[in-house]
């Protein structure tokens, strides 16, 4: 009871801070701008935050953080919108939302898809917040146990499951993962500083921009193939009715378990410093595909395949605050900026700050909740407006798509070089579509390849080239066994396919 009373106190302190008119206003401003900027292709949380960062110089630290955090998780809500409607990933972590979200929109179900992702995002965010309220310090301690060996093992699990994302053929999946890894390795080697695959270009020293690749592969390739097939049949194909916006009973039945699983996966990956939300969305997609009764529906408009990853990236965005707030570890560039706001105000994040400045820590957490509620309220009426975009004839729409893509990408680093990357990626994406090769594994390869290399290099430098460390550390051993199990079950079902296609009721593995 004592712990409960304490929690009640914390919630009360937090709420009293979060609902003050100033904080409420900046929370609203943050989530609104985050949602809006997140929906624009290329402008993710980082760009949005850096644009608005100067405002924080004149704000109280708590208020500043509430606003920046609002932009951060607000952009995760907005990110999926363009993915679903136009096959344009607004943020890298919503690239997965293209896979099933866009087919749903093509089937005239964009409204339902947006409604379900809003609900999923809210639940995922809420579960992340609850975890943070109850266990933040414990979780942070536990996350420290993840050394290079554990990361290597975890990334292997990710890469193995990636090959099952977005294609019936594991071989095609693996091929695309490898291409992705090669793209990811462009730039300076972290050990020696030697440039690789840069062809003498200094612009490529820091690597190929992930956002540019994702937008090119999905969005620009989509524009090319639509232009190729002609516009005639595109005009006014979609009718927006109120009915099409409300998720069906079937949607709800299919989605509640994926939402819960997505929350779990997302919360877990968010805690680990790094690109948590992005990996979480891919892994939760792979999980749903594995568990589905009929995996062949994935990639053709499966609601589970959209809702689970969107839930996961919102949960991850919330739990990502745990290492930052409790240990001062910046998990991403965005988190580093928020850490900077605290430091600039003479506040050192850590266990002490939770005890000494409860109004800051709990005020921030309660503002998360308020922000999530605001996002749901903002989103529901917006869905009607967003879906109307689809009634615009495509030949009027695509110049705007390309213009927004260029502006968004250019805004990241004021570099026209990145725009060329988008269009090269777009041409490649179109080529891969013709060959029926899955694009999502490529994106995951781009992200995980360099991460794998970095952690693997580190693990080997630390253990002086001894591979046994992977098996001696329990967490890494368990993760490697999971990866092995995935390979074995996939190989087994590929070698011994079920002969008769019997009606399946329970979950079964796919080939």
């Amino acid at each position: 009871m004592n712990a409960l009373a304490e929690l009640y106190d914390h919630v009360a302190i937090g709420l009293s801070v979060a609902v003050s008119p100033t904080n409420l206003w900046y929370c609203l401003l943050g989530v609104f701008l985050g949602q809006l900027l997140g929906a624009l292709p290329g402008i993710g949380a980082l760009v949005a935050i850096t644009l608005l960062f100067p405002i924080t110089y004149h704000l109280e630290p708590t208020t500043a953080l509430i606003m920046l955090a609002g932009i951060y998780y607000g952009s995760a809500y907005g990110g999926s919108t363009a993915s679903i409607l136009l096959n344009l990933p607004g943020t890298p972590s919503s690239a997965v939302a293209c896979l099933d979200g866009y087919p749903l929109a093509r089937q005239g179900r964009a409204g339902a898809a947006l409604s379900m992702t809003t609900i999923g995002s809210f639940v995922g965010g809420s579960i992340g917040i609850i975890l943070m309220m109850l266990f933040a310090p414990t979780i942070a301690e536990w996350a420290l146990e993840f050394g290079p060996w554990e990361y290597v093992a975890l990334i292997i699990v990710g890469l193995v499951s990636a090959s099952t994302v977005g294609s019936e053929s594991p071989l095609k999946g693996i091929a695309m993962v490898i291409i992705g890894i090669m793209v990811g390795l462009v730039g300076q080697d972290i050990g020696s500083g030697i440039p690789r695959f840069t062809f003498g270009s200094n612009e490529l020293l820091d690597g190929v921009g992930l956002v540019a690749v994702a937008i090119g592969l999905f969005g620009v390739a989509e524009v090319i193939s639509t232009l190729k097939s002609g516009f005639a049949d595109e005009v006014n194909q979609f009718k927006v009715t109120l009915r099409s916006m409300i998720p069906t009973r079937d949607d709800a039945r299919r989605s509640w378990k994926p939402i819960l699983r997505g929350s779990a996966v997302g919360s877990f990956f968010g805690i680990l410093p790094g690109t948590g939300a992005l990996i979480a969305s891919f892994i939760s997609y792979a999980v749903e595909r594995k568990l589905a009764d009929d995996p062949s529906r994935f990639g053709k408009g499966a609601m589970e395949g959209l809702v689970a990853p969107e839930t996961a990236n919102n949960a991850a965005d919330q739990t990502a605050f745990i290492p930052t707030m409790t240990l001062g570890i910046p998990g991403s560039a965005t988190m580093a900026i928020m850490l900077g706001v605290l430091i600039m105000n003479g506040i050192t994040p850590g266990p002490a700050v939770i005890a000494e400045k409860p109004e800051l820590f709990w005020g921030l957490i309660m503002s998360f909740w308020i922000g999530n509620v605001i996002l749901v309220i903002l989103n529901i009426p917006m869905i009607g407006i967003w879906t109307r975009i689809l009634t615009v004839p495509y030949r009027a729409l695509y110049p705007f798509i390309l213009a927004f893509v260029c502006m968004g990408i250019y805004s990241i680093a004021q570099s026209s070089f990145d725009i060329w990357i988008v269009f090269v990626a777009g041409a490649l994406g179109y080529f891969f579509r013709i060959l029926d090769l899955p694009l999502a594994p490529l994106i995951l390869g781009v992200v995980l390849g360099p991460m794998f290399e970095e952690h693997f290099l580190r693990s080997q430098v630390l253990s002086r080239g001894d591979f046994m460390m992977f098996l001696q550390r329990p967490v890494s051993l368990v993760l490697l066994l999971i990866a092995l199990a995935i390979v074995v079950t996939s190989a087994y079902s590929a070698l011994f396919p079920r002969k008769v296609q019997e009606p399946v009721i329970d979950g079964s593995t796919n080939a």
């Binding site: 850096t50 960062f53 200094n202 580093a336 680093a413 026209s416 725009i419």
Partner: protein, 327 residues
Amino acid sequence: MRLDFLCVAAAVATSVTAFALPATAADWPNQPITMIVPFPAGGGSDPVARMVADGLSKKFNQPVLVDFRPGGSATVGTNLVAKAKADGYTIMLSPNTPVVNVKYTIQDLPYDVEDLVAVTQLTDASIMLVANKNFEPNNFAELVEYAKANPGKINLAVQGTGGVSHFAASLIQSELGLDFNMVPYKGAGDMISDMMSGVVDIGFGFPTGFFSGVEAGKLKFVTSLADARSKALPDIATTAEEGFPQIRASAWLMLFAPKGTPAEVLEKLSTSTNEVLADPDITKRLEDLGYAVTAESSPEKAQALLEQDRTDFAKVIESGAMKLGAE
């Protein structure tokens, strides 16, 4: 095509300064100044750049625009300044990497580091040697003893090949004949996390990055590689105080201008910047961020410091302790 048009439009919009009116040093500045920062917005130098630019804008009654141009390990933005017209309307705010280290870390550099001259020093920051709480030595002298007794056993985190932590570690190795196991890191997040859990024993960085870990009882400050003790950490002795004056590393931020910028312009920019930095409010905000403020710099002093750092860096490279490129 449409794409070309957009690229051209974007390029034109951002290079308005290219159409600068002919200016003489006497009435400088009579038009907006662009301050290029070759790192991403939101990075470590972001607040300093904005504060200084804001102060200079007021002083000159001309906008000083901060333009973040990241990419190519900071060479993309630096190249823009190196190639800009030397009229004082394009300047750069930067740490040492793109004007000192790049000479050795990047092949086919598009500019010569000598194409830029130092205008004035803005800040200095203490490079601290930090260790896991359970690491035995508590000060630098003890660390040297320990390292001699355990060659190659100490795991040392290096964040960024050719960067300041790589330099500091290599300097200690070459000057004192020690051998560390250097573990490469890209980002601060992974590094701090591994230092806290004890996977690596020691690492380098600014004080502010480690306060949380120290307060959580997982890290400890061992020594400072700066010339003087950090204001935030008055109890931590410098390497020089412990009898190792040859072990020093500085992490300044300076303003740079293209070579050939009129001396009067450099002088005026430096004096005005000193006045901006001397404002108690700005001094305090920078100190809270962990910087020491140098409001007494001049083009000569800054250039001398730059040359000193180049010499120190070259020495470590020649000693072979800093492994870059293929071995």
